[in-house]
């Protein structure tokens, strides 16, 4: 059978190929387009704790208040500092020197959209998460009844609680709802990538655009780093050498894939020199990308999304240039005046 003697086949084949070329087919078989990375319009909040300005204002005061810790030395902002991309810039958190398998402090930026919190997903909501650092011994090391009693003794909090909740009563639910409300207002600034997605072709360089193609194609970073926040809010063992069982310690042992698995972090607003990974074990984007190229430790729990690949030096640079376009710069806030 010679080419051209079956016009039906020719037309069908050509149409199929043209369709594939126009829509764009990724290596993983799913179409990825710039629109998949569009920023959302508003900030989501649960119906049980709708976002209000007054709750966020109260939450802001609580977030920066060191009196929420037993020895009055640590606030939420100590480890989630505005000038450190709402993390702490440390390999391991303050006070965790004697903690086995201590994990790096994640950012609280864009947490309004998260469905699981902490590196192992042990908290299911921002409200549930908010109380954990307060009561963790090597962090704020306090207990809720004592926190409530201390806040009740501070007269300056009374009008804030009244505005937020209708009266001045202080309780655990109100404290966590206010903290969660403030954290929901912390949203990444618009980055060059966002302007490019919105249609400004000059917003990022040609090399960055090439990096985006690698990100969504050959390197398949997009398998896990997806959506406008560049995370799937999911858990994967990426083959790091670690004793930390991660999410594996929180789920039934039969779920082998969750052993050594940690939540996919967002790629927005990354500190340029790291630290990266749950244990802060990497300090450059190049090192991180090379880890994915090799595929990490091959063990039963390793994510099936970890597929080794090869990049040239130029391609690696393009990928790094692309990741840098996700940085909208520091999100600054005015520090609140502490209630007295």
């Amino acid at each position: 059978m010679e080419m051209g003697t079956r016009p039906g086949h020719c037309l069908m084949g050509l149409l199929l190929v043209m369709n594939m070329a126009v829509t764009g087919i990724s290596h993983a078989g799913e179409t990825v387009s710039k629109n998949d990375f569009l920023r959302p319009e508003g900030i989501p909040s649960p119906s049980s704790n709708p976002l209000t300005e007054d709750k966020a204002n109260l939450g802001k005061a609580l977030f920066f208040d060191t009196r929420l810790s037993r020895d009055n030395n640590m606030s939420c902002a100590t480890c989630h500092a505005p000038d450190k991309r709402w993390s702490d810039g440390r390999l391991r958190p303050l006070g965790s020197e004697h903690v086995t398998n201590a994990r790096r402090t994640p950012t609280v930026l864009n947490s309004a959209w998260l469905s699981a919190f902490m590196w192992d997903g042990r908290a299911g909501s921002l409200e549930a998460q908010a109380v954990l650092p307060i009561t963790t011994p090597h962090e704020m090391n306090f207990d809720l009844p004592s926190v409530i009693a201390r806040l009740e003794s501070i007269q300056g909090y009374r009008p804030l609680f009244t505005k937020a909740f209708g009266d001045a009563a202080v309780n655990k639910k109100r404290i966590t709802e206010a903290l969660a409300s403030f954290e929901r207002t912390l949203v990444s600034n618009t980055a060059p990538f966002d302007r490019w997605v919105a249609g400004d072709e000059s917003a990022i360089s040609e090399r960055s655009k090439h990096g985006f193609k690698l990100f969504t194609g050959k390197a398949q970073c997009v398998s896990c780093h997806k959506s406008w926040r560049f995370t799937d809010d999911s858990f994967h063992d990426i083959g790091l050498l670690t004793d930390d069982f991660g999410r594996g310690a929180k789920v039934p042992p039969q779920v082998t894939l969750m052993q050594y698995a940690f939540k996919t972090p967002s790629l927005r607003d990354l500190p340029i020199n790291g630290p990266y990974m749950h244990d802060g074990s990497m300090s450059s984007l190049e090192e991180t990308i090379k880890h994915y190229e090799k595929g990490g430790l091959d063990r039963k729990s390793r994510s099936l999304e970890m597929k080794p690949f090869e990049l040239t030096d130029a391609e690696r640079l393009s990928l790094i240039e692309f990741v840098k376009t996700l940085d909208g710069g520091p999100l600054r806030v005015d520090y609140p005046k502490m209630p007295e």
């Binding site: 080419m3 086949h9 190929v17 858990f235 789920v251």
Partner: protein, 189 residues
């Protein structure tokens, strides 16, 4: 052989163009827009030619068994699945459907269970196909807190859950890997 030779000759100029564009991109150490456009154009042309060859070969090979081809593909998928986690079906652990029970089908697409229109009842079996390109690990939480793990589900795999004999209330489907996946199913008799 003769036919293959003719087809290769037809594709030779396309390979040549592709090679030159690639060399040009390599020498300039960058994939400029022009290069990319050229590369894409010749890639599309080459893919079209290759597809046409596949189409015409399939049509001309009278003895070709398309059903056998599909079975071979299915086998290779099963092999891949067995390597990682054997499914209950592969292990022969799936029990026959109970008398009077119905087999329902659901689909898991990327990060959500697609909406279903059936009304499940006790003893029914629900098969869930992973139509995404990522691996999932679904589990069902019963009203009394019991957790039942379904299988690790690579793309294309089907897992099943049989509604318990005494089921009543809300059963929650979630994924250990992707907590964002959540679906509530109410069973009432």
């Amino acid at each position: 052989m003769h036919k293959a030779g003719i087809k290769y000759n037809a594709m030779k100029p396309m390979f040549g163009r592709l090679w030159r564009v690639a060399i040009n991109a390599h020498k300039t150490d960058a994939l400029h827009t022009t290069n990319l456009l050229q590369l894409q154009f010749w890639m599309v042309t080459l893919m079209a030619a290759m597809l046409l060859i596949v189409c015409s070969t399939a049509h001309s090979a009278d003895s070709h068994d398309s059903v056998a081809h599909d079975v071979n593909n299915h086998d290779s998928k099963l092999e891949a699945s067995e390597k990682v986690y054997p499914s209950r079906a592969v292990q022969g652990l799936v029990e026959p459907l109970a008398a009077g029970a119905t087999l329902h089908k659901m689909a898991l697409s990327h990060h959500e269970l697609e909406a279903w229109s059936f009304v499940p009842k006790r003893k029914d079996r629900i098969e869930i196909e992973n139509r995404s390109n990522i691996t999932h690990a679904l589990y069902v939480t019963y009203p009394d807190g019991t957790v039942v793990n379904l299988e690790i589900q690579i793309p294309g795999d089907v897992v099943s859950w049989t509604v318990p004999d005494d089921a009543e209330g809300e059963y929650v489907f979630r994924c250990w890997i992707h907590p964002v996946i959540r679906a509530n199913m109410t069973i009432s008799e």
